[in-house]
């Protein structure tokens, strides 16, 4: 589904990301971990063509991301609050995203109904603009909006941060469901090793911009990761 070829990103002379080769097959739930500055957000930004690669490229479903815009219809993401439109209510925002992705209002409503318990009655019919919601509630809106229109690729940057414990547990369930029941390729970054090992089939560790570990998740993975980061 996603193929990374000789990708690097330099700011002036500093190389912040360098991935020789990486393949993410269709339907995989892919976790990215690493300390601050390891290049996680840089990688995701490159995946969304928000920054320009210094060398190399990413191919998503045969489309070169920095050369064509055709990856947009099947890709969805939530990176940070700048993916929300502050002056819309949650419903309006969902419908807006729905319209962009060719989904009718009813289709969006059906999707939202599935996530009622995830929203914990804090989001829908609240008569508030998104800018007036708390950080955690904003995140809920952004994550669910990224699922509208059955995208083939879903990219979530630090989805667990800022969420309350209940919501974290429900989010894990949502991601697992997506992984098991659909062909969606999910890319997640996180600082929380436990969450990531729970929901991702495969985990790549980035260190100073380079992938240093590529693990198929198993019982031993969490320990392996903890040992690595404790070095």
């Amino acid at each position: 589904m996603i193929r990374v070829e000789n990708l690097s990103k330099k700011y002036n002379q500093d190389e912040v990301l360098h991935i020789e080769h990486l393949e993410i097959p269709k339907g995989q739930s892919f976790g990215l971990v690493g300390n601050n500055g390891a290049g996680k957000t840089t990688f995701f930004s490159l995946l969304l063509d928000l920054i320009q690669p210094t060398t190399g490229h990413i191919v998503s479903n045969t489309i070169r991301i920095d050369a064509s815009e055709d990856w947009k219809p099947f890709t969805a993401a939530f990176i940070d609050e700048s993916f929300l439109i502050g002056y819309l209510t949650a419903e309006e925002y969902f419908y807006f995203i729905g319209e962009l992705r060719g989904q009718s209002k009813t289709a969006v409503d059906v999707l939202l109904a599935q996530f009622e318990d995830f929203f914990q009655d804090e989001i829908l019919q609240k008569k508030k603009y998104l800018r007036d919601l708390s950080k955690g509630n904003q995140k809920k809106v952004g994550i669910i909006a990224a699922l509208i229109g059955q995208p083939d690729v879903v990219i979530l940057d630090e989805p667990f941060a800022n969420l309350d414990p209940t919501t974290q547990i429900r989010l894990k369930k949502i991601i697992k469901d997506l992984d098991e029941n659909t062909e969606t390729t999910i890319l997640i970054s996180s600082h929380d090793l436990i969450h990531v090992t729970e929901v991702c089939e495969r985990i790549v560790v980035l260190d100073k911009g380079e992938p240093v570990k590529d693990i198929q998740t198993s019982q031993a993975t969490l320990e392996e990761l903890e040992a690595y980061f404790n070095k």
Binding site: S82, L84, E92, K128
Partner: protein
């Protein structure tokens, strides 16, 4: 914590911001413009005395100048309102460190007095005062007058701060000016006579400068109190929770693929402080014609009337359009990663401008009162706006990478202005273009030919719509990464 440290921080912020890396060409042009204005003002200051003496031999030049000072200061304030950059400072990091709030505020306010807009009038007032002395006017009175002028200029500086940051002051002042203008227009009461007498007192009583001094102190304290009040993060922590309604605007669905954007833009305008202000301003543009059409002086120079006519229907187009795509800067990354072709995005903005021009044109119907010639001119101006101005404005916006904070009005520390000097440069063809298009055939053939040329230019532009949009789209495409990075910068 000393003032020098603030200066140091600011220098860093300035040097490291992306707008610093703006083209060197624009900087040179700005510098030249500044030099030009300085030269023009100095020249005016030197010759004004003798010019007035020649035109009004029976009057004392200083009295003539004083009589018209009110217009000078009004103009000064207007330019400031649109052009002067107000201080921006990120206060959050300073709230917890041991530095007195008053230090920060005084620094912030003092900084504004160094603006070019405060220096420029001096280039007129000082040479003028020198000439007065050369002409053997009494030293003490001239000095008193000069000091008063400087104090008035500084007062305007702080008045501008207030009307920029606070809607109550802004609307209050605008309605005050309008009511005095109306009283004067209908010959009920002429405030300018009183103002003239007032400013003459500034000269005849040397100690009268105490009045503007008092004014300055009062305004400064008002500013201080205003900034002091907003020196809390209350806004960020305890937000006003107003219940709002989800709106559909389903009547816009007929626009097909553009509908979601149009709906969004409508909400953007209705729900945010900045765009609302722009909407109000563009409403004021409708009255622009009243200034020009009623003056005898302009009826002989129709090129100026064309200028006014373009503004009547173009207010919204110009003021809203120049900030496309900055209006969407807060969520630009979303737009860039969503399923949105630039083309649709641009086209929806264009339709919005089109609708605004049409509405303004309908609202301008009462101008028929000034004759069909004028009305035809407004119509031709509207066509020009739709066919050419819209694209020039969108083009200018594409070069503008200043992020806009949508919902700030009363926050004293952030820059609520989107109008920068670069924008002014791009604005020149928008204002001079229609005048030229009209003027050449008007001079060569006649009035109607001029109007026809203006209308035709708009129609031709309309026919080339997809060509223009393609061009603008490719600029967007090319500047994509830069724009994302600039909008991403925290203000």
């Amino acid at each position: 914590m000393r003032y020098s440290q603030f200066l140091f921080f600011e220098w860093k912020q300035f040097k490291r911001s992306s707008s610093f890396q703006k083209g060197i060409g624009i900087k040179i042009v700005l510098l030249l413009a500044a030099l030009y204005f300085i030269a023009a003002f100095t020249g005016l200051g030197l010759v004004a005395y003798y010019l007035i003496q020649k035109s009004f031999p029976q009057l004392d030049p200083i009295v003539v100048v004083n009589n018209y000072l009110i217009f000078w200061f009004l103009l000064d304030l207007t330019y400031r309102f649109f052009l002067q950059q107000l201080p921006v400072m990120n206060i959050k990091p300073f709230m917890l460190v041991p530095v007195k709030r008053s230090t920060i505020i005084h620094y912030l306010l003092a900084k504004t007095s160094w603006s070019f807009f405060n220096w420029l009038p001096l280039f007129f007032f000082i040479p003028f005062a020198i000439i007065l002395l050369v002409e053997a006017y009494p030293l003490i009175q001239v000095m008193g007058w000069l000091v008063a002028m400087i104090l008035f200029t500084l007062s305007l500086n702080y008045l501008n701060f207030l009307i920029n940051k606070n809607n109550t002051y802004f609307y209050g002042l605008v309605s005050l000016i309008f009511s005095f203008a109306a009283l004067r227009y209908f010959n009920i009461y002429d405030i300018t006579v009183l103002a003239g007498e007032f400013f003459n007192k500034m000269y005849s009583l040397w100690y009268a400068f105490l009045i503007p001094l008092l004014l300055l102190v009062l305004l400064y304290r008002r500013n201080y109190a205003f900034v002091r009040k907003s020196f809390y993060l209350d806004d960020a922590i305890r937000k006003e929770k107003k219940l709002v309604r989800t709106q559909e605007f389903s009547f816009l669905n007929r626009f097909g693929k553009m509908a979601p954007f149009l709906k969004n833009d409508l909400k953007l305008i209705l729900r945010n402080a900045r765009p609302k202000q722009v909407l109000f301003m563009s409403f004021l543009f409708l009255f622009y014609g009243l200034i020009f059409y009623t003056q005898e002086t302009y009826s002989d120079s129709p090129a100026f009337l064309v200028f006014a006519s373009v503004f009547i229907t173009g207010g919204f187009l110009l003021s809203y359009g120049q900030l496309v795509p900055s209006w969407d800067s807060e969520y630009y990354k979303l737009l860039m990663s969503q399923n949105i072709p630039y083309r649709q995005y641009l086209e929806s903005k264009w339709y919005l401008m089109l609708v605004a021009v049409i509405i303004s044109f309908i609202l301008a119907t009462p101008y028929i009162y000034f004759g069909w010639d004028i009305y035809a001119m407004i119509a031709a101006g509207a066509l020009f706006n739709i066919g050419l101005n819209s694209f020039i404005t969108l083009f200018g916006g594409a070069l503008n990478r200043v992020p806009v904070e949508l919902n700030v009005k009363a926050k004293a520390f952030s820059n609520t202005q989107g109008f920068n000097p670069t924008q002014l440069l791009i604005a020149l063809p928008k204002m001079l273009g229609p005048m030229l298009i009209f003027y050449i055939p008007y001079k060569l053939i006649n009035f109607n030919a001029g109007l026809l040329a203006l209308a035709l230019s708009g129609l031709i532009g309309l026919m080339l719509k997809s060509f223009f949009l393609n061009k603008i789209e490719s600029i967007y495409q090319k500047g994509k990464y830069k724009t994302i990075a600039a909008f991403n910068e925290k203000k």
